[in-house]
Structures are given as C-alpha cells and as structure tokens.
C-alpha cells in the first residue's frame, strides 16, 4: 500500500521526465520495429516470391536459339538438375518519351494461367486481380520504372524491333510485381505483353534478318535436384562443363544473387537506419541515466525521510524501477503499435524504387525478441543507476548532505564584465559538468550519425557520380554504341559540333567463365583506365584483373593463374591486380581487348565508344541530337543509370527523416535536461533577477550553455565521423559489391550537421528557458 502511494507521488513528481522517456522510447522503438519489419519482410518476401514464381536455383538468360527446348532438355538430363522451365522473351532496347533505356528490356509473353506475377492497383497501394489477357498494344511494367524513367499509366514505350523504323509502341496499362528484376537497382527490366503482339514481334525479327535490332531469347529456370547438395556456383560450374549452356547464356544468376540485387536498397538503407536506431537507443540510455541521477539528487531528502519510517533501499529502488518502466513499456507499446502503419507507409513510399510491395505484417517474434532484449538492458541499467538509493543514510539525507558540498573546486573560467552572459554560462557548465554530460553525449551521437549520412550523400553527389564511379569499370562522359554499318567518324563529327572530344576508349561487357564460373568481363582498349585497388592493371594479353569479391569467391590472389572461357576458346591468364567495379554486385572481371580476343570473338558493333567531352554540360544535347539523327541504329548512355535517381531520392528522404528525428530527440533531451537544471537553479536564477538581470539575459545565458555543449559534442561527433565513416560504410558497401568508398566531404556537408545540432540545442534551450519567467524573486523571501 505504502509502495503504491510512493509510486503514485513519484510518478506525479517526475511526470515530465517520464513523458520525455516515453517519447524517446516510442520514437526509437517505432524506428527499430519499422526497420526490422521492412528488413525481415522484404527478405522473406523476395525469397518467397522467387520460389513461388519459379526462379529456380539458377536462371540463365539465353539468346541465339529459335527453340530453347533442346538446350533445356540437355540441362535437365543432368542428374543434379530436377527440372528446367522455359519463359520465352524478346530482348529489345526501349525508350520512354525520347529517353532511352540504359539496359535492354525483356518482353515476356503473358500467360494468365501461370499466376506467376502479381498485379498492382493503379494507385500502387495494393494488389488487384490479374488480367484475363493483355490486349494488343497494351503493356504491363514494373513500378520501378516510375522512379527510373518517370513513367505513368497511359505513357507510351517504344521498342525498336528492326531498322527502317520498325518500332513497336505500347501503352502502359498497368503495373506488376517482378521479383526477378523489378528493383530499380537492376538495369534489365521485364515487360508483359499479349500473345498477338508477341507473335508480331517474333515475325518482324525473323523477317528482318540482319536488320533486326531485337533478339529472341528465353529464361531457363534451372531447379537443382538437391539444393543442399551443392552451392549454386558449383551447380553453375557443373552445367557449364557438361552442357552447351554457356554458348547461349547472356548471363546466369543464382537465386541468392538475384535476391541480393532485389534487396540491395532495402538492406543498405536498413543498415543505415539500424545504425541510426542504435544511436537513438544510446541517446535513450543517456537521457534515462541523467534523469535517474538528477531525480535521485532532487529526492535525496525525501528518500532519507522514507527510510526513517521503515522503507528499505531495495523497496525504493523497486519503486523507481517500476516508475521508469511505465514510461519505457508505454513507449515500447506505442512504438510497436506504430510499426504496422509506418511499415505500410514505407512499403507504399518505396514501391516505385524497390519494385515490390513489402508486406507490413509485424514479425512478432523478431520484434518481441528485440524489444525484450532492449527492455532487459534498460532494466539492468535502471538497477545500476539506482544503486546510490541503497546507500542513502536517513539523517544525512534529511540534512541535505548529498556528499557534494564542499568538494566543488573553483573553476578557472573567467567572468567577464563585457561578456557577462557567456561568462556565467561557462561557469555554470564547468561547475556542473555532470549535468551536461548527457546532452553532450547526445550531441556527439547525433552529429556522428548525421555527419556519416552527410558524408555518404556527399560521396553519392547530387547526380550520383560517386555511385556511378563505383559501378563503372572506367570513367567517361558519354558512351555511344552503334549497330550496323554506321561510321563512327560521322557520329564523332556530330558530337564535335557541340563540343570537342578530349579523349576516348572502347569498352564492351561480355559473359565469360572464370575457372568454370560465369562472370561479366569488362573488356577495354585502355586497361590503365580501370580503377585499380591493388597490384597492376592487365596491360599484357595474358593478364586479367578481378574485383576483390571474385578473388575471394575463387580463392585467388594477385600472381595466381585463372582459366577464362569465352565464346571462341579458353586459356590461362595471370591475375595482375584487384580492381573496383560494383556491377553485378562485384561479380565481374577486367580484361584488355588483346587479352579478350584470345578467347572471344570481335565485331565492331560490340564495342561501346566512351568519350570525354570538353564541355560536359553538352551531354544531354548531344544525346538528344544523336538519338534524333540515328534512332534505333545507335545507343547512347551518359555516366549515369536510371536506378540512381531512386537511390538519390531515397538518400534524400533518409536525410530528411534523420534530421526530423534529430530535431525531435534534441527537443526532448533539451526540455528534459533544461527543466531539471531550471528546477535545480531556481534560487540562483532568483538571485540574478534580484541583482537586475532581465529574463532575456538569463534565457540567453541558459541557451548559451547548451550551445557550448552542442559545439563540443558536435566537434567530437564530427571527428568520430571523420575517423569512422570510411571503415564502417566501406564494410557495409562491400555487401553491395562497392569497394571504392572514400568520403571526401565538402565543407558544407561537414558543417551542416554541426550547425543544425548547435542551432537546435540553442533554440530549444532558449525556449525551455522561457519557464524562468515564472521564477519570481519572491523565491528568495523567507517570511
């Protein structure tokens, strides 16, 4: 009964602190739960859909065969393969409103009886029944094309099927979910079309002969007889060694690899948000610790009194634990309740980037486990922080002796006559360091995280150059690939009519097998342009460079030999270096033209001409002029990639979200800390008022303390970020195949989080200090 009364009284007395803890725990738990939900559900969903839609253990994209069935049977006859399913398709470039695609599209014949794909409602907020058939002229697309190319319902997509303007134009009728290549992180895109259109295109290709621009092909979904018996790489190697698949395969991806591509965005952003959530949880712990310490200090006398009437230290600690648990559990429950709507919101907001509708169902087990661990840690922390209650001696406490009096050393910070408020602020800070340490730690953590994200944003750059440099094997301004007999001199003259070409080289991406495993080879005429991380580039025709991921997968080091198989032969190469290129999540190798021609065939139209321009600003104009002049006979790409816009906008959304959370946390922390300080300093503030200080002077001085603390914390946070960003982010980026992350932030990106945090702390402190208007000098009166 007594415990209940004390609990009620304490809860009322510390209501402000408990509300603050509730808000912080709510925000941190809502963010934690949402990140967990999005991360776990997207992973489960993609793997589930790949299985349901029949991706198989491996899928090979093949071309050059009019009928894929004999090849499928050849593969199926292997004892390690249980079945092979064929999905016929047509490879073709495409353009939306004059904007050419970077990669080929895949026109797939829609079979309503297959139920392979799920269709979205027009507003992209859910699913609808799949159509009974797709009519002629209609096309269904992945919603990621909305972010990649700005596509909307009713837009037209033009597919150049053959020269002489034999294009096929479709109208976007709806959106569907493609678990194989729906993410904006994957360049290749599939399109569902009806049977009449499909037959018509096949006929055009067959009748056009060498003038055909589109190609017939298929996806072979290969199912392992015993998926646990060997890895997908081993299965791939086995199939390549025992069948003719490698002669027809454009690329082969395992289920894990394609899931990896589909989940890059979710995983990368979940990792960043998880780091942010971890920082928020640290902030919760810091604020909780500060609240308990100052609460004990304020209630020291009362607790001494309670001990004199028989309360034990254990009972009082128990009351404090329960009191804080009300705020924590309330925050956790509210956070958990907010997870489903927040996840639904995230799912809706990311659909046009991820291409999939991430389920918002709460992963109860994971959430309960995470929240349980968090609760356990917080309870342990509260028990630890309330230990001083155990040692309170009743009479000592009643006398008001909390063991601090007389031990305070006089600080050396001066009190200047000309800068009185600053002097007083500094004195308060240096004399009460412990009281401000929480706010300082919060500033360190928040600036560290904000600065880290800012550095990543800086690396990405507004046009995604950082990311493109990571994905491109070599730099360039514009790439031009011609089909057929179009002379390059004519194209180059057209470019020069806008700006001079300062340099150029040729590049082609070809499928090869390295030690039996399929990779993309970046073949270049000037190997010195590769981004070499270690060793040397492949200048000789018997040398090759690998990414560090390929080297790790194959267990190869610089100086080792590898056997590379192309479409015309196989030979050994010496690994001369490690280079960076995040294409195919790092699954690629680099070769010189001379080296590649030992095992591969050459054709002029294979090569993409990469140019460096004197005036980079002319890129868009040149692209448009060349497309208008040569249409389907030419493919032009800049040093960009449509999926980047999704990443850049997601990064910008993340930064906005992050700064909103930072502002809310700083608000709560400042109000909590400031209120405690104001309560503790009432008497001193009353004295200052009696001496003639105005409210504004005192509020300014109070805000200055937080400004100084935020400055110190921000400086430390910035230093931490400078030291730790590259190793932490590099480790995370390597998961996506990017190995060249090195932040070179601008002054603005360093200063933005610092200035923001300082301004937020200072202004919130100034507003909190408004309460001192209520502190009257009558507080000094003793009648």
């Amino acid at each position: 009964m007594g415990n209940k009364a004390i609990f009620k009284a304490n809860s009322k007395r510390h209501r402000g602190a408990l509300i603050g803890i509730f808000i912080l725990v709510f925000l941190a738990c809502a963010a934690l739960g949402t990140v967990l939900t999005v991360w776990i559900n997207s992973g489960r969903y993609v793997h589930g859909e790949l299985m349901r839609a029949g991706f198989g253990s491996l899928t090979a994209w093949i071309s050059g065969l009019t009928d894929a069935r004999p090849l499928a049977n050849e593969v199926k006859n292997l004892p390690e393969v249980s079945s092979v399913e064929i999905q016929n398709l047509i490879f073709s470039n495409y353009a939306v409103d004059g904007q050419e695609s970077d990669s080929e599209g895949q026109l797939i014949l829609y079979h309503s009886e297959e139920s392979r794909y799920r269709f979205f409602t027009d507003d992209l907020h859910g699913y609808q029944e799949q159509p009974a058939a797709i009519s002629s002229g209609e096309i269904y697309v992945s919603p990621s094309l909305v972010s990649m190319m700005g596509l909307t319902l009713g837009d037209e997509i033009r597919f150049p099927i053959a020269r002489s303007g034999r294009d096929k134009v479709f109208t976007v009728t709806g959106f569907y979910e493609d678990p194989f290549m729906g993410s904006s992180m994957i360049g290749m895109k599939s399109f569902l079309i009806g049977e009449d259109d499909y037959r018509e295109i096949c006929q055009i290709i067959q009748t056009s002969g060498i003038d055909a621009l589109a190609r017939e092909g298929a996806m072979l979904h290969i199912f392992a007889a015993d998926p646990d018996a060997m890895t997908s790489s081993e299965l791939n190697q086995l199939i390549n060694e025992n069948t003719s698949l490698s002669s027809y395969a454009e690329f082969i991806h395992s289920e894990d690899a394609i899931a990896g591509f589909m989940l890059i965005l979710q995983n990368a952003f979940a990792a960043m948000l998880m780091a942010f959530v971890a920082a928020l949880l640290f902030v919760v712990v810091i604020v909780l610790g500060h609240s308990i310490s100052s609460g004990i200090e304020a209630d020291y006398g009362n607790m001494g009194m309670l001990k004199t009437v028989g309360f034990t230290g254990g009972q009082l600690r128990g009351i404090w634990l329960v009191q804080y648990l009300t705020g924590i559990l309330g925050g956790m429950a509210a956070g958990l309740a907010a997870v489903i709507p927040l996840s639904r919101l995230t799912s809706n907001a990311t659909l046009t980037t991820t291409g999939i509708y991430i389920p918002a169902d709460l992963p109860i087990g994971w959430c309960l486990l995470a929240f349980g661990i968090l609760l356990g840690l917080l309870m342990g922390f509260i028990r630890l922080k309330t230990r001083p209650i155990r040692d309170i001696a009743p009479m000592k406490a009643i006398r008001g002796d909390i063991g601090a009096a007389g031990k305070t050393k006089v600080s050396r910070t001066p009190i200047w006559g000309n800068h009185l408020q600053l002097g007083i602020a500094l004195r308060q800070l240096t004399m009460g360091k412990r009281r401000y340490s929480g706010a300082c730690m919060v500033a360190v953590l928040l600036v560290f995280i904000a600065s880290m994200i800012g550095r990543m944003d800086s690396w990405l750059e507004s046009d995604g150059k950082g990311m493109m440099d990571a994905f491109n094997p070599a730099d360039h301004d514009i790439g031009v690939q011609v089909f057929g007999e179009l002379p390059m001199e004519e194209v180059e003259d057209a470019i020069r009519s806008y700006t001079d070409i300062t340099d150029d080289y040729l590049l082609v991406m070809q499928g090869v097998a390295v030690n039996g495993m399929d990779y993309t080879a970046n073949v270049i005429t000037e190997p010195e342009r590769f981004h070499i991380l270690e060793g040397q580039t492949c200048l000789e025709d018997d040398e090759i460079v690998l990414t560090e991921f390929v080297a790790a997968n194959l267990g190869i080091q610089i100086g080792d030999s590898v056997t590379v198989t192309g479409d015309s032969g196989s030979t050994e190469y010496i690994v001369s270096g490690i280079y960076s290129c995040a294409n195919d999540m790092g699954d690629n190798v680099g070769m010189s033209r001379e080296g590649y021609l030992k095992i591969g065939q050459d054709a002029p139209q294979l090569w993409c001409h990469h140019y460096f321009l004197e005036d980079e600003a002319q890129k868009a104009a040149i692209t448009m002029a060349l497309e208008n002049a040569y249409g389907g006979d030419i493919h032009i790409h800049e040093n960009t990639w449509p999926g980047l816009f999704g990443i850049i906008s997601a990064m910008q959304a993340l930064i906005v979200f992050l700064y909103v959370m930072v502002a809310v946390f700083i608000l709560v922390v400042t109000v909590l800390t400031g209120s405690k300080l104001l309560a503790a300093e009432q008497r001193d503030l009353g004295i200052y008022k009696a001496l003639g200080f105005t409210n504004r002077q005192l509020m300014t001085s109070f805000a200055m303390r937080f400004g100084i603390i935020a400055l110190l914390g921000s400086a430390m946070g910035s230093v931490l970020s400078a030291v730790l960003t590259d190793p932490i982010v590099s480790a995370a980026m390597k998961l996506a195949g990017i190995s060249n992350f090195a932040s070179e932030p601008s002054v603005g990106s360093i200063l933005l989080p610092v200035i923001t945090v300082i301004l937020l702390f200072t202004s919130f402190a100034f507003l909190t200090a408004g309460r001192l208007k209520n502190i009257d000098v009558t507080i000094l009166i003793s009648e």
């Binding site: 009096a405 007389g406 305070t408 006089v410 600080s411 009190i415 200047w416 006559g417 000309n418 009185l420 007083i424 004195r427 308060q428 004399m431 009460g432 008497r683 001193d684 009353g686 004295i687 200052y688 008022k689 009696a690 001496l691 003639g692 200080f693 105005t694 409210n695 002077q697 009257d776 000098v777 009558t778 000094l780 009166i781 003793s782 009648e783």
Partner: protein, 253 residues
Amino acid sequence: MREILLKGTNICKTFPKNGGETQILQSVNVEIYQGDFAIIMGASGAGKSTLLYALSGMDSITDGEITYKDQKISSFSEKQMAALRAKEFGFVFQQTHLVSNLTLFENVAVAGYVSKTASPKEIQERASRLLRQMHAEKAAGRLPSQVSGGEAQRAAIARAMIGNPGLLFADEPTGALNKTNSEEVLNLLSDLNRNGQSILMVTHDAKAAIRGNRILYLEDGQLLDELTLPIFQESEARQREETVTAWLSSLRW
C-alpha cells in the same frame, strides 16, 4: 523638509489560501526619506518581509501605488524593474543568497557588471575595495559554501553596495548569524548610513532595531506606530535599547 525617496500609498497584498484569499498587507502608507535608516518591526507573520519586498518591487502588490524618486515603480515593466534593481536598489537577504558557483568577489563584481554603472575594470576595483571595507577580502576567492555565514553576509552587503544604490533593502540581515557576526554586520550598516546611505531594514531583533532612526511597527498587515530616534551612536546603544524596548512593550511586543 527631507526629500521623500520611496513612498507606498494604500499598499495591499493578498495571497490565495484554501480556495480563498488571505490579506497580508492592508492599506499600508509609508514614506522613506533620503538618508533614513528605517526599520520595519513586528511579530512573526505581521507582513514585514512582504512589505519590504512590495516596496522594493521584488513582489507585486494587489492594490495601491509605490513611487521611487517620484517614479511610479509599481507599474514598471519587467525590464524597467530589472534596471531599477541593478542601478538604484541594493538587497541584503536573511539567507545571504549568494550565487553558489561564483566566488565572493565574483558575486560582488557580477552585480556591478549588470548595473553598468562603471567600466568592468572600475567595477573590479570597487568590488575589491568594498570587500576590504567589509573585512571579507581574505575570503574573496572562495565559493559561498567555503566561507562562514558572517563572511558570506558581509560579501552580500558589498554586493548590495557595488552599484552605489539609492536605497539599500535588508531583510533580517543578522537572522542567520551568531552574535559576533551580527554585531559586525550591523556596524557596517550603521557606517554606511552615517556616510549617507539610505537603508530600509526588516528585523525582529530590538538590538538590531536600535540602529535605525525610524522604527515602523507592523501588526496584522497594518502600520500601527512609528518611533523616531536620532542617528545611532555606539555610546548611546544601551539607552536606545531601553527606549525601543519600552516602546515595543507599549505595543504589547
């Protein structure tokens, strides 16, 4: 005719209590003249400190009017009141009320800085001089928690005097001091008054009250009587004490 420094007219002050109101001051009329060492006396709960803080503008009044040097200070804004406290008024409290994290010297100097009555350098020189006068110079570099009550109160008087105030308010300045320290503090106040400083002091101690030239007796929130005395001389202390005691007895003190 002596110049009126501070004037309170029909001062009323009520406090909320148990859902109703309690009237602490009831139409109090009081005048403090230039050079006065005026004492407010009365039993506990009579409203002495309430009157002192009402007159000094430290506390608001419910009704009435207060003027200082012919300015109606009872209707001053917060900013005007702050300026008045910084430049014209000095305060000495019963519980010294020194800022806990400033040294005695800094406590005195800060009050001077905020008054802006001189340059920072001059303020520092004046603070040192005042602390010397108050025999507190040895404790100047210490925090309030590290000095005796007498040293702290002498520093508080120095602080009150740093801006050369027109009127010094003192609320039971010896209330928390032992006999020796009380005597020292009262001597300092008497010296200041002899040098022309106007003082309004609240006390319930007859030995302290004899320092004044006017003693105002407050009972149940009303001024009941006033005793006028010549300027205090140490040699007449015993005789003044008898006079004051007799007067207080007549008021059933």
